[in-house]
Subunit: 272 residues, 2 copies
């Protein structure tokens, strides 16, 4: 069972911390952070890491694709090119595997989800966010998140979420939307689905440190004025993103990739 | 007694909130924030507001120059041009006033300080910061600050300050440095000067809201996990920046502008 996530956003928005928090991995322990000079070079790299994880008894082969350098240069026009190319290459690989002799044993390396990090200091979407999403929304399920949301008060989060949804609508960007629940689904799933739907884009916080709070070990960030608890629903939407990605909607993300996005790619390729 | 500050940094870094917090003004009450589409246009505007304030019995004519649009476009090369032009124009004006008949009553509209906002999500200086400071350090006193420092833990602030000072040294950028204290100055001033020197770049937080804490009205930001107190030295360097700008070093900022930076401009102009 394979699942591939591409993680996109300017450096320093807490991407690697969030990935390690979501999947309880340690993918970035020995990463070296480039200094400003090294980041001036324009090319955006593509780095893939694969790890086997186990979630509630299900074994999963998770691939995380990083895009260091995205949005970091002085001039960022076309910084999405390498990412578009990479996603198309996976479709191309799948297309040739599907048309080959070995149709039975194809490993699915297509990208099922793009976790896109929106800066919390913006006032809605920035020009870079809009340009990126407009080019990728027909190729991959985009799940936008508000990065480092512990820098925003509860009121500022509400305003920013509304502003982002307005920008998404004005620019007709097709982000991943939760499927309508069928009438025969159980009440619990319907309720949870609606709760997730009303919290998008998720405002998330990540951390690799743990603190003792009320006798439990809690993942959090410590400030002089208090401790942010990553998994506390009063503090941020981390737990909602985690349950959506791993428990309730991973299957749907794979299905949309296969039945809609890949089919679109195939149709375009066969026509050209 | 005139003092002019130019405020530079990407939008959303809390610049207007900090200015209102520092000078207890309400300069930005009816400002309209442009949406992403409006920000794509490349030109950086120059907007000046002047207000009379009184600090510990001294009347001061404070001018604040905003630079909306700085660093907000997709392609930010040359976004500093309008700011450089504006600063040079003030020197030119002063030069012609000085050589005119009315030397006695010159109003000093030169820019005495550039408050430069460094994003807290960076890993030191970004390419844009370096390019801007390298072009302005011979024209104006640059006072770099770490914006929205309530997004950083105490440890992260220490690391970021060190990284920024390294980047400033590597790129030989000339930011404003505190004058050496003479041996005859009183102990109190020496101690305070050293404390300020060791805290640069100041990590600041701003807010327009007040909360009742320990029976006092305190300027702060409220999170579910606690309240950041802007003027609390355990929480950020706001109080240090305020005392430096208004109490202890405003005179020195004016003197350096007049005796060093303006003289350099004048010498270059007369030579060319
Ligand atoms: N305020 C805040 N800081 C965070 C958060 N997650 C990570 N950080 C800090 O931000 C810095 C950069 O995080 P990192 O994950 O390396 O960012 P990346 O460059 O996007 O991968 C580190 O100092 C982290 O401790 C968060 O949710 N909130
Ligand atoms: N976390 C944090 N947010 C701040 C701070 N100062 C302002 N803000 C918030 O950041 C947003 C933008 O602030 P503003 O002053 O308009 O930024 P400007 O565009 O740089 O002038 C507002 O929602 C403020 O409430 C701060 O010190 N820390």
């Amino acid at each position: 069972f394979e699942f591939t996530v591409v993680v996109v956003g300017e450096s320093g928005l807490g991407k690697s911390t969030l990935i390690d928090s979501l999947f309880q991995t340690n993918l970035y322990a020995d990463r070296n952070i480039p200094n400003a000079k090294a980041r001036i070079k324009k090319t955006v790299e593509i780095r893939k890491q694969t790890v086997d994880i186990e979630e509630k008894g299900v074994r999963l082969r998770l691939s995380v694709v990083d895009t260091p350098g995205f949005g970091d240069a002085l001039n960022n026009d076309k910084c999405w090119d390498n990412i578009v190319k990479f996603i198309d290459e996976q479709y191309e690989k799948y297309l040739s595997d599907e048309s080959g002799l070995n149709r039975r044993n194809i490993t699915d390396q297509r990208v099922h989800c793009c976790l896109y990090f929106i800066s919390p200091t913006g006032n809605g979407l920035k020009p870079l966010d809009i340009e990126f999403m407009k080019r990728l929304d027909t190729r991959v399920n985009i799940v936008p998140v508000i990065a480092k949301s512990d820098t925003l008060t509860a009121h500022e989060i509400k305003t920013l979420k509304r502003k982002i949804l307005d920008d998404i609508r004005t620019h007709s960007i097709d982000v991943y939307t939760f499927p309508e629940t069928d009438s025969d689904e159980d009440e619990e799933f319907k309720r949870e689905n609606n709760q997730l739907k009303s919290s998008v884009p998720f405002a998330v916080v990540g951390s690799n440190k743990f603190y003792d709070i009320r006798g439990k070990k809690v993942r959090g960030r410590q400030y002089p004025w208090g401790i942010v608890e990553v998994e506390n629903l009063e503090h941020c939407d981390f737990a909602k993103l985690r349950s959506m990605l791993i428990r309730t909607h991973m299957q749907d993300l794979k299905e949309v990739t296969h039945e809609v996005l890949y089919e679109q790619y195939r149709a375009n390729r066969l026509r050209s």
